[in-house]
Amino acid sequence: MSQILVNGLLTGGLYALVAVGFSLVWGVMNVVNIAHASYIMLGAYITYWLFHLYGLDPFLSIPVSMAALFLLGYAVGSLVLNRVVRFGLVMTLVLTFGIDMILQNGALLLWSADYRSITPAYAGQGLAAGGVMIPYVRLAVFVLAVLFVALFSLFLSRTRMGNAIKATALNPFAAELNGVRIQRVYALTYAIGAALAAAAGSMVSVVYTIHPQVGNVFLTRAFVITVLGGLGSIPGALLGGVILGLAESLATVTVGIGWSEAISFTLLVAILIVRPQGLLGKRFFGGVG
């Protein structure tokens, strides 16, 4: 049983990191960012190629993939998204869906649909504690995921830029009156979301198989976690990720793994009925923190 809980917890950490950028963009900009799936995929490929061509350790490539996707995210945010963001949820949904299709098909053209994977020397090694196996890679992914979420949470609450993001989430109009350049905040928020997706992608690449559609599986989970934890809530994403990981893991040994997706969507519906703002969400729209 303790093995099952450990499995769920470790998976939940990765889920949380996958969801946090998605939740941020949704909460601050009111954009359901379908392209998040592609940013995860690109992060995974960057790590794959750096490992494959230069032998760079997958964990050391995280800053590179984050920086690359930050730039891409900033470009998409400032040049494309900012032009349509005021037209509302449906327009931006269509737009990010389009960006997602371009990036996925681009990846398909460039790198083919072949399945690829990264196997560093320490893959499969682990720590045995009281009959419970803790694989090093998954442990590292979990710790880093929690660390990223914590650092990002600090950034939001302690820095001027973080406060500007929070202010914009609360009320873009009022924020603008106070001198916040919201176009810039939007571009930056979108870039941070992409960079967090890249970090998640880099970590996905060491535990999972990489292919152009790899992000899609995680996108559905990001969606569930965001609603579960509360739109734009950073601790909510962490909590939601861990809950989803544990729920899937426990479902496997109780009702059967075939039900794990049914369980996660039941959670989604239940939370919408009982607490529509999410576990740690604020009642008004897009409370970031």
Partner: protein, 323 residues
């Protein structure tokens, strides 16, 4: 020829277009049982022959269709050679776990394996279906280990197959036999997993090293060489089965001397050939009932055929080496 992107709706639309606009009378079916399930229904309605070269879930052939022919043996028999090899061991594994993704073809192969295991006196202690796009099977494997299974069979595809191997290693779960269907025979499985693929067993419909031959392609190995020269990679059963599908249709058309679908259908049913893909004879349901899968083990990064015994190229490493 159209690309259906393995999307059932697209495939159905394109099949309809092939028949009603392009006026074709013979169709080589799409990849996968699930999609062929849909497209063959259209062919049946218009009395157009579908040669299915990569679709062998039994459900497809139990619908009383007259115009559907499958070159592969039924999916249910996929893991039979692995189970037969296991049962023939002096100290066979005692408890079997079988896991399958939620997929028409994979479930058929898993159900077929369960039935065969019970016939052979091997106890199936765990049977589960998992979502096809699962990202984590660690808890599934933990449950299998707790059930005491010393033989793990999976009918998953490449991605989930690799996930199972990697997470089994992470959990230090060491079954004596680990057997896969499609996953293990795809070269990417071996190149990606490296040493972790050692000792994994599988069923295989066709391999270049098999001793089959015919007048058109020559031997299986000659076919593989020519294929590699032209396309740059070693063919798997998918390619060989599809080539044979084309060859059989040509034979049937030549023998019928006409493109009339009824006459060609009669000739397809009358075929009794030995080809580089193995023996072929269609049952009334359109299933190739003459052939069966071979069993293999991955040894030193290569697929070594071991079963049936008369084609064996080596000896089985048992139990499978630990992680």
């Amino acid at each position: 020829m159209y690309d259906d992107r393995s999307d059932p709706q697209t495939s159905v639309r394109l099949t309809t277009r092939l028949i009603t606009e392009d006026g074709v009378r013979f169709i080589f079916g799409p990849y996968s049982s699930g999609i062929t399930n849909a497209t063959s229904a259209i062919g049946e309605r218009y009395r157009v022959i579908t040669i299915a070269t990569t679709a062998n879930a039994p459900d497809l052939y139990e619908r009383g269709y007259r115009y559907l022919f499958g070159t592969l043996p039924l999916a249910t028999t996929y893991l039979h050679p692995v189970l037969e090899m296991a049962a023939a061991l002096p100290e066979p594994p005692e408890k079997v776990a079988i896991i399958t993704p939620e997929n028409l073809f994979a479930i058929a192969a898993a159900e077929g394996a369960r039935q065969k295991a019970e016939e052979l006196g091997l106890k199936v202690v765990y049977f589960a279906r998992y979502p096809q796009d699962t990202t984590d099977v660690s808890s599934l494997l933990s449950a299998i280990r707790d059930a005491g299974a010393d033989m793990l069979l999976s009918t998953g595809f490449l991605q989930d197959g690799m996930l199972i191997v990697r997470q089994a290693k992470e959990l230090r779960y060491n079954p004596k036999i680990m057997g896969f269907t499609v996953a293990a025979s795809i070269p990417d499985f071996r190149t990606n997993l490296g040493r972790d693929a050692e000792g994994i067993m599988g069923g295989e419909w066709w391999a270049p090293s098999m001793a089959w031959e015919d007048d058109f392609f020559g031997s299986a190995s000659q076919y593989a060489e020519e294929f590699e020269q032209r396309f740059g990679y070693v063919p798997t059963y998918h390619a060989a089965s599809s080539s044979i599908g084309g060859y059989l249709l040509q034979l049937a058309i030549e023998r019928a001397g006409t493109l009339d679908t009824e006459a060609v259908r009669r000739e397809l049913l009358a075929l009794d050939e030995v080809t580089m893909f193995g023996p072929i004879r269609f049952s009334d349901k359109g299933v190739n009932e003459a052939s069966s899968a071979a069993g293999f083990q991955i040894q030193d990064g290569q697929i070594v055929l071991l079963w049936p015994e008369d084609i064996s190229e080596g000896s089985l490493v048992y139990p499978k080496p630990g992680w």
